[in-house]
């Protein structure tokens, strides 16, 4: 099975499958994002958010950013979403509470969305993207190229300071969490 898949990967056949995969993933992402907005039940919103985040991870996979996709799944789909669900469990006595946004909130949200959409469209129109071709990919990726390996080397050399600062950030989060939990009781 794997050999056939690998053969398929080198064939031009994959080039025809790739757009289909993209549309499938994009459809899941956009539809579930739409469902988050339409849903009024916060628990269902969380489940739709899970689908959206997974879809975005799929996009990262398609862009050959495997580590980013894995981090998206581990940290966002696995961690942040759990935290949201825990937050709902801990705060809301009634999770079937309907969320009714005020009128000004709707206006702000629509305005912000349109602004971001305009920004993205502007970026899309003005940015000149190079034509994707096999030659560029091969030039960027010499034999034995491993993205995760490259990132690991970066973390130990050029990005050593951010790497260590991240540990300090995690320390701050842990101590802050313990402090807040203790204050709540007194």
């Amino acid at each position: 099975m794997t050999t056939t898949l690998a053969q398929l990967g080198t064939d031009a056949g994959l080039q025809q499958v790739a757009p289909l995969l993209f549309y499938a993933v994009a459809l899941v992402t956009v539809l579930s994002a739409w469902a988050i907005v339409l849903s009024q039940n916060i628990v269902r919103m969380a489940v739709y958010l899970l689908l959206t985040l997974t879809g975005v991870a799929g996009m990262y996979f398609m862009l050959d950013a495997e580590l980013l996709a894995a981090i998206q799944l581990i940290v966002y789909a696995g961690g942040t979403l759990i935290l949201i669900v825990f937050g709902v469990m801990l705060t809301s006595g009634n999770p079937f509470l309907k969320l009714r946004p005020k009128l000004w909130e709707v206006f702000v949200a629509v305005g912000l969305s349109l602004f971001i959409m305009g920004l993205l469209l502007f970026a899309k129109v003005t940015t000149h993207l190079p034509e994707p071709s096999a030659t560029i990919e091969e030039a960027n990726k010499p034999a034995g190229y491993d993205l995760v390996h490259e990132i690991g080397r970066g973390l130990l050399s050029v990005y050593l300071v951010p790497f260590e600062v991240a540990a300090v950030l995690l320390l701050v989060v842990m101590i802050g969490a313990a402090y807040m939990a203790r204050r709540r009781a007194t």
């Binding site: 794997t2 898949l5 990967g9 080198t10 994959l14 499958v17 790739a18 995969l21 499938a24 799929g58 996979f61 398609m62 050959d64 495997e66 580590l67 894995a70 981090i71 581990i74 940290v75 696995g78 961690g79 942040t80 759990i82 935290l83 825990f86 937050g87 469990m89 801990l90 705060t91 809301s92 006595g93 009634n94 999770p95 079937f96 491993d146 995760v148 390996h149 990132i151 690991g152 080397r153 970066g154 973390l155 130990l156 050593l160 790497f163 260590e164 991240a166 540990a167 300090v168 995690l170 320390l171 989060v173 842990m174 101590i175 969490a177 313990a178 939990a181 203790r182 709540r184 009781a185």
Partner: protein, 152 residues
Amino acid sequence: MPQLLSIALFVAFGMVFVVVNLLIGKFVRPDLPNEEKLAIYECGEPTIGSSWVQFDLRFYIVALFYLVFDVEVALIYPWAVVYRDYTLPALVLGAPFLGIVIIGYAYEWYSGSLDWVRSSINTSYKGTAGIDMSKLARRDPNALEDEALGER
């Protein structure tokens, strides 16, 4: 990309497998509902009230710890991948990272935030020493809180 194709095939097969089996089950099984069968299953116990109750705050601390170590794993993974090639530098440069996070863990442990039953600092119950928590846990939290406040 071949990896992605494998993942897509795996996901698609997983979805189809679940849906097809549920559909087959729907067509094959006899459909004789009664009140007992439609009741919520809770390990054979009769259900009491709604399951949408407010959970104890201690769970949130556990969730936050989970998130912290989750992020740590995400950061440590590329480091672990290159560890074999640069053993000594990776060890020297990775030790402070792990050390700083472990300091946080040790602090939590020391300060009692990880204690589940004994500590009263991070629970919503304002218990004092000498209270039998296991006995009190079965009682109404509000009455318990009033009692604890009354004692002061």
